[in-house]
């Protein structure tokens, strides 16, 4: 695994606002300038310099883009499928629903696994956020948010807190307690403040920092304790719909996808957009890193999922089929990165072979859109949340097959 490009971060007084911040090293007509990311944005918006018109700038950017494409094409020699011919073929996958979690009164919008591999937090349209022990299907905690459309929820790495947010433009952190009767809403902490709905949130490697993405086109990194904004990331020209943090040893980057069809990779320290991929034809609904951290997959409304490699700086594979015409809403990789699970708006889940680019299986069962899909941290199962108010945990169904009715819920095996 190649080490990531180490961006030399200078930290010091910005040339324009003279505050101590991480600086971006820019070159304006070969002159080096050290601006902090906020001042850089202000400068970029200041309008045209002399001798430039909007038309000339557009033409210039078009030529640059064409050059970029040419350079990329030169390096494009083989397809992933040819290289992957040596990889052994997959056997038939027969997935069964192992647990059906019922309890939400409205569309399930988002879900996340806990690091203990069995607990799940899920949020829904009516403002309810529920923490389940998916193994026993018990509900452990439930919070009612004062807002509807809770589109983002995340479990803290320690397992002691959850974060959620939605139409209230905020991300709130709720510390979980062992006392079942305690009112979780009393200890709520508002962390992030955006100017539009919150579309995604995730904790970084600890409980103390949260990364959020919002419909106002920005993503931001926040300190949980103080609610302070640590870094903001500007660059999308439309709603940012999804984000994912890199699993690599350096852990300094994250990728975000938006309504402007772009997937951008950002550096957490400087706030800079280091790479951008715009080959999708429609809004990107979900991005997820490959387990090695060198690539990421994206799911889009144009009904395709694509694999982008960060070192080659290009798209390496498209997962699409003529018979799939409806947008993909969510993706995740299996632990080895061989399988890609994708949930679609036509109520199905397709399982793709990442290397060979073929579809391995199609799963039915949901009665409405599959809105979110995540593989458990140790890869033993995956859970899909849907607009039909349920969550389903699925695994392979070899051999074992019996049904047991217990109370009101049906358990499949």
């Amino acid at each position: 695994m190649c080490d990531q490009t180490f961006l030399a971060i200078t930290f010091g007084p910005c040339d324009s606002c003279s505050e101590n911040r991480p600086l971006m090293n820019l070159y304006i007509k070969t002159e080096p300038i050290n601006y902090c990311s906020l001042c850089m944005e202000i400068m970029a918006c200041q309008g045209l310099a002399s001798g430039e018109t909007l038309k000339s700038l557009k033409a210039e950017s078009e030529t640059l883009r064409k050059k970029l494409e040419e350079e990329r094409k030169k390096l494009h020699d083989v397809e992933l499928e040819k290289v992957a011919e040596k990889a052994e073929a997959l056997g038939e996958l027969n997935m069964k629903t192992r647990r059906t979690l019922k309890g939400h009164g409205n569309k399930v919008l988002c879900m996340d696994w806990c690091k203990d591999k069995r607990r799940i937090v899920s949020s829904s349209q009516d403002g309810k956020v529920i923490v389940w022990d998916a193994f026993t299907t018990n509900k452990e905690h439930a919070v009612t948010m004062p807002t509807t459309w809770v589109m983002a929820c995340a479990y803290a790495p320690s397992g002691c807190a959850i974060a959620c947010g939605g139409l209230d433009n905020k991300c709130s952190v709720y510390p979980l307690s062992l006392d079942k009767d305690e009112n979780l809403a009393a200890k709520k902490k508002s962390v992030a403040m955006h100017t539009n709905y919150l579309s995604g949130c995730t904790f970084t490697n600890s409980d103390m920092q949260i990364l959020t993405s919002s419909g106002d086109g920005t993503s931001a990194l926040w300190d949980v304790e103080s609610g302070q904004l640590l870094q903001s990331f500007h660059g999308h020209s439309a709603d940012v719909l999804t984000l994912d943090l890199a699993p690599s040893e350096t852990g300094n980057t994250f990728v975000s996808g938006g309504s402007d069809k772009k997937a951008n990779v950002w550096d957490l320290r400087s706030g800079q957009n280091v790479q951008s991929f715009d080959t999708h034809d429609s809004d990107i609904n979900c991005v997820k890193y490959y387990p090695s951290g060198d690539a990421f997959a994206s799911a889009s409304d144009d009904s395709t999922c694509r694999l982008f490699d960060l070192r080659a700086d290009r798209e390496v594979s498209i997962y699409s089929k003529d018979s799939i015409m409806f947008g993909a809403a969510s993706v995740d990789f299996s632990l080895s990165g061989r399988l890609l699970f994708a949930g679609y708006n036509d109520y199905t889940i397709n399982v793709w072979d990442v290397l060979k680019g073929t579809r391995v299986a199609i799963l039915f069962g949901h009665e409405n859109r599959v809105s979110s899909l995540r593989v458990s941290p140790d890869g033993t199962a995956f859970c899909s949340g849907s607009w039909d108010n349920t969550l389903r945990v699925r695994q392979e169904g070899r051999g074992v097959g019996r049904e047991l009715k217990q109370g009101g819920t049906t358990l499949y095996g």
Partner: protein, 470 residues
């Protein structure tokens, strides 16, 4: 009077429905008189309705055209009905494709769902008003509700609406009966899709509005940045390599031993791989060998590595790495205190756990600590991490600690449960330890380890007469 809402942040547009274009092409092919689905005339009461198709034919056609299984074709067919491209004639409220002789018709393109204009309330109001006139006030309950609502909200335009409705009603009367029936069915189907009755969902439900107008022209623009691309085939080979090395660790590809907890309802797999287990499983140990990052990501692996470091007397490297990680990802308010602690313990000349980094990095770090920020230890941390990764890790792999662990590692026998045992497992699912309790335990352990790692103060010990030899 204009009412301005406080919440106007600019989200006005429906998200792009890219699927509509492709589905339209498909539906057009379906209607092709030669190669499409065969339709026939159907007698309904006294009228004859042309071009009626049945569910079976539609399903068979989709299967042949798309080369998919029946189940998938069924799902796709249901989506076609749900979006309103095909509508059922008899049970008009249930929008599914039933693969028998249930009758359907193709919707006229005028009523197809399009991106360009959503179904407006005013059109719905006119439709309901016209229906009201026709049915002489006998609307369905959900329609009545909508009607009352619209009447309240569109009161100023109500005269216009009623006028339109009456005009259309009169125009309709002039038409021939079969045409009238067909048009009525079509319009009713359109409104079922766009204004679904209670407790049914509409396929047109898309969630929240977005900032970007899907019908607007594309504006391209790009910031130039340097590409450091890597030759592509090597990149692709790395995927294959990663997948092959991790093949045995992926529960979807290789059945985990003793058994997958979700299938057999026994959580022994999780217990054997937990952080505090004495002897790890062979699979875990194999995973640690793959890379340094795998070793320290697994909590049990980290424990093993720390044991090795203790034997080598270089435990301060790992301690520094962990402390730096804590500072980087920790609370902003704790930074000055943590940086002070790290400086005193690891970086100060003569510090008790002094780490061995080159002079330049040390100089940079100490200088940066004057104004501590969360990334000030990055250079030092990277140096130590690379040192551990490139040197210590390989020595660990050859060390007796590791080799001994490899010999002792368990290979648990796969579970073979009878049906009765499986049912018993389901009833006795282990609730496990709450992650909150586990976290508290870990914190206590860390605090104890920190106390143990503190340097021994000889003077204090003498003062309390612990070294007294009497």
């Amino acid at each position: 009077m204009t009412i301005r809402t406080l919440r106007d942040y600019g989200q006005h547009y429906r998200p792009r429905m890219a699927c509509l274009k492709n589905v339209e092409v498909f539906v057009v092919e379906m209607q092709d008189p030669k190669s499409g689905v065969k339709g026939a005339d159907q007698k309904l009461n006294v009228t004859i309705i042309p071009h009626v198709i049945n569910g079976q034919d539609v399903l068979a056609w989709i299967v042949t055209k798309m080369k998919v299984t029946t189940e998938e074709a069924q799902a796709f067919g249901t989506m076609l009905v749900a979006y309103g491209y095909i509508y059922p004639l008899q049970n008009h409220r249930k929008l599914v494709l039933v693969p028998d002789s249930t009758l359907y018709r193709f919707q006229t393109p005028y009523f197809w769902p399009v991106q360009k204009w959503p179904a407006e309330d005013i059109d719905y109001a006119i439709y309901l008003a016209r229906r009201n006139i026709r049915k002489k006030g006998m609307l369905e309950p959900y329609e009545q509700q909508h009607y009352d609502n619209l009447h309240k909200w569109m009161n100023p335009k109500w005269d216009f609406i009623v006028m339109q409705a009456t005009e259309q009603y009169k125009a309709n009367k002039e038409r021939k009966k079969p045409d009238r029936v067909v048009l009525d069915c079509q319009e009713r189907a359109y409104w079922i899709v766009h204004r679904p009755p209670r407790r049914t969902h509409s396929a047109m439900d898309y969630g929240l509005d977005r900032l970007i107008d899907p019908n607007a022209e594309e504006v391209t623009g790009d910031i130039t940045r340097e590409i450091h691309s890597v030759y592509v085939p090597s990149v692709l080979l790395s995927f294959v390599k990663f997948v092959t090395t991790h093949h045995n660790h992926d529960p979807f590809l290789t059945t985990p031993v003793p058994s997958n907890p979700w299938i057999t309802d026994s959580d022994e797999f999780w217990q054997l791989n937990s952080r505090s287990v004495d002897i790890p499983t062979k699979l875990s140990v194999e995973r640690w060998v793959l890379s340094f990052w795998e070793l320290i990501s697994d909590p049990r692996g980290r424990v093993d590595f720390k044991l090795f470091l203790k034997k080598e007397h270089s435990a301060e490297n790992m301690a520094f790495y962990e402390a730096a990680e804590e500072m980087r990802w920790g609370a902003a308010s704790a930074i000055p205190e943590k940086s002070q602690f790290i400086f005193n313990t690891f970086l100060k000349p003569g510090a008790p756990r002094w780490i061995n980094i080159d002079g330049r990095t040390m100089g940079l770090t100490v200088k940066g600590l004057v104004v501590p920020h969360r990334y000030v230890l990055d250079a030092a941390q990277t140096h130590i991490f690379l040192l551990m990764k490139k040197d210590t890790f390989y020595r660990y792999l050859k060390s007796p600690v590791h080799k001994d662990m490899q010999k002792r590692a368990l290979v648990p026998a796969p579970h073979v449960f009878t049906d009765a045992q499986l049912e018993a497992n389901v009833r006795n699912r282990n609730p496990g330890i709450s992650p909150i309790l586990q976290w508290q335990q870990e914190e206590e352990e860390k605090a104890a380890a920190a106390v143990a790692a503190r340097p021994i103060d000889v003077k204090a010990m003498v003062a309390t007469n612990k070294l007294d030899r009497k």
